[in-house]
């Protein structure tokens, strides 16, 4: 069931700057969504539109199929965890969490029960009477999450809520958020510019750039089959080369022809080819598809990061668990490690082509 839809939403600010261009999003109930994009891509703008702090200049925002463009924020059944937490500094932890319930005139004994339950959910039992200013960043964040969740929203919006935390706490909180989401079955919309975080947590990711939706899909779909160079570069490390199609399932780049898994593109058409560094391996020179010379290798704890140059002058980034066997070695990869992208192909065109040649195969 669709819980939130954005239809042809455009947001132009009074200074003339258009932060969102004709955006279409559709979110299903109970899932974990991430909005992923570089700084200034319009993520916060989308959240503010959904939360009701801002209105679109064009287009519709639907909640359960009902248009809510003009519904004030206070009346929307969703809550926000702000980027800077926005805890009320003069109220203690308990009063912060109870704020929404008090406003809704919930009886005091019920408030007590609900807030206590929230405190234990975010593992802050016994912190009720503390001043929020004394808490650490991670604790403040958990108070902010509890303050939003206690109202039992249908949708929870989180704006870069983990960005201020150190790596370890961040991993813990990612895990906790995910389990809270599964436990309560609430729809989460999580804004981040950290691709690892989005890949780790989401059911579905929306990749944005300059106010336009680039691609949406499951983490693996976005990682394995980015529709364009922007998505490929933004998500994960990549080796990107220009090349052209020879025929279906054969592509030429780097002065060689390779078998590949892509089809439905005119022979001779210019394409861009993506190979993920972890899909590459180094073997003996005569066994590889390309011969490369190792330039540097760096041990990063769980893998080696190797830079190697081929005869055509391209610098390859390779992630392997083993060290390079020799200075000159062969580069090996499977046909389906090659991901061919047409220049300027949109997400819908890409999906269409994919379904076409998958049908042909049958």
């Amino acid at each position: 069931m669709k819980i939130i839809e954005l239809k042809h939403v455009t947001r132009q600010y009074p200074d003339g700057f258009t932060a969102l261009h004709d955006l279409n999003l559709s979110l299903e109930s109970g899932k974990f969504y991430s909005l992923l994009g570089p700084s200034g891509s319009g993520k916060t703008t989308i959240l503010r539109l959904i939360a009701g702090f801002d209105q679109p200049t064009q287009g519709e925002i639907l909640f359960n199929g009902r248009k809510i463009n003009d519904l004030p924020a206070a009346q929307r059944p969703l809550n926000t965890v702000f980027q800077n937490y926005a805890l009320f500094p003069h109220l203690n932890v308990f009063e912060n969490i109870a704020f929404g319930l008090k406003v809704k005139k919930v009886p005091a004994d019920q408030i007590q029960v609900k807030v206590d339950r929230m405190l234990s959910l975010v593992r802050l039992e016994g912190f009720g009477q503390r001043s929020v200013q004394e808490l650490s960043g991670g604790q403040q964040q958990r108070v902010a999450i509890a303050r939003a969740l206690v109202n039992q929203p249908k949708v929870l919006l989180l704006d870069e809520s983990l960005s201020a935390l150190d790596k370890k706490l961040r991993k813990t909180m990612q895990f906790e958020l995910r389990s809270i989401q599964k436990q309560l079955g609430i729809t989460f919309i999580f804004v981040t510019h950290d691709q690892e975080e989005a890949l780790a947590m989401s059911d579905e990711i929306f990749v944005l750039n300059e106010g336009r939706l680039q691609q949406s899909g499951s983490p693996s779909a976005i990682y394995d089959e980015p529709v364009n160079e922007f998505v490929a570069r933004f998500i994960g490390d990549s080796n990107l080369l220009m090349g052209h199609m020879i025929r279906d399932f054969e592509v030429e780049f780097d002065n060689h022809r390779f078998e590949c898994a892509d089809a439905g593109i005119k022979p001779g058409e210019q394409v861009q080819v993506l190979l993920r560094p972890e899909d590459l391996s180094l073997v003996a020179p005569q066994q590889g598809k390309i011969v490369v010379e190792v330039l540097s290798q760096l041990f990063l704890g769980d893998h080696y990061e190797i830079w190697a140059k081929d005869d055509a002058g391209f610098n390859w980034l390779i992630h392997t668990v083993e060290k390079a066997p020799t200075k000159r070695c062969g580069l090996h990869f499977a046909p389906d490690a090659i991901h061919v992208m047409r220049l300027g192909e949109s997400e819908s065109e890409f999906d269409q082509r994919l379904s076409q040649y998958e049908d042909n195969e049958k």
Binding site: T80, F88, H90, G100, N151
Partner: protein, 262 residues
């Protein structure tokens, strides 16, 4: 060298500013009748002051007037600041300029215009007219003290309160008000002192029935030197110093709290 020079300059300036006041206070303890020579220490002028029931009544009236007018002005000024704060662009600028003009306009002009206004409206001159004008000239200073606090306010707090379902009233009372309290208190203290020491405006708008201390002191001082006035002035000075001290204490407390926060 430069630093010593600056210190000397400051000391000199303060001595010059405080000398007349200290001189005046000093002679309030003299048993003599003039400020030519200090006779010997005595409380005699304070005793006269204490038994001067008319003056004491005026003193009380002045205080009541100050408290009343500053409270009302603070309430109106705070709402005004909130209103100006929510305006954008040129409207906000216009409102600010209008507010500041009132701040710098000479008291005489303000007093005279109040007088014209009251007589035109048929409002009798007395306690009520003085109260109205004190409220009026205190509002701009309250606005000026509260507005910076509002500008420092974290706007996402308002978003957050809205997000949690709070209406305008709740947002103002429970979120905005506690955050800008120090500004409101400064405004209140300023309004209090403005009302206590105003002479020019009051002089214009007061009638026969009602006098404030400054007006009374002025009319007595014109009749010749009377050390009772010195005693009264010293008492007033003490009151104002206590107010200023209290104000400093409160702001210091707040800064300490802020320091603990960051």
């Amino acid at each position: 060298m430069k630093r010593i020079g600056r210190a000397l300059y400051l000391i000199l300036a303060f001595v010059l500013l405080y000398l007349p006041i200290v001189y005046l206070a000093y002679f309030s303890f003299s048993s003599g009748k003039d400020m030519v020579r200090f006779q010997h220490f005595s409380w005699v002028h304070y005793q006269v002051l204490w038994s001067d029931k008319e003056l004491l009544a005026i003193f009380l009236q002045t205080i009541i007037l100050a408290i009343l007018s500053s409270l009302i002005a603070t309430a109106i000024g705070t709402c005004g600041a909130w209103g100006i704060f929510r305006l954008r662009g040129y409207r906000r600028k216009t409102m600010l300029v209008l507010n500041n003009v009132l701040m710098v306009a000479p008291d005489v002009i303000i007093g005279a215009s109040f007088l014209i206004c009251f007589t035109a409206l048929g409002i009798g001159l007395g306690f009520f007219s003085v109260l109205l004008s004190h409220i009026a000239f205190s509002i701009p200073i309250v606005v000026l003290m509260v507005l910076p606090r509002l500008q420092d306010l974290d706007l996402t707090l308002i978003d957050a309160a809205q997000d949690l379902g709070a209406g305008r009233g709740v947002i103002f009372n429970q979120i905005v008000l506690p955050e800008i309290m120090p500004g409101i208190l400064s405004g209140l203290f300023m309004a209090l002192t403005y009302s206590l020491d105003d002479f020019a405006v009051t002089f214009f708008v007061t009638g026969n029935g009602f006098k404030t201390l400054s007006v009374e002191i002025y009319s007595r001082a014109r009749q010749g030197i009377n050390l009772e006035i010195n005693a009264l002035s010293t008492v007033m000075l003490l009151v104002v110093m206590l107010l200023a001290g209290g104000y400093l204490f409160l702001t210091r407390q707040h800064e300490l709290a802020l320091g603990a926060r960051s």
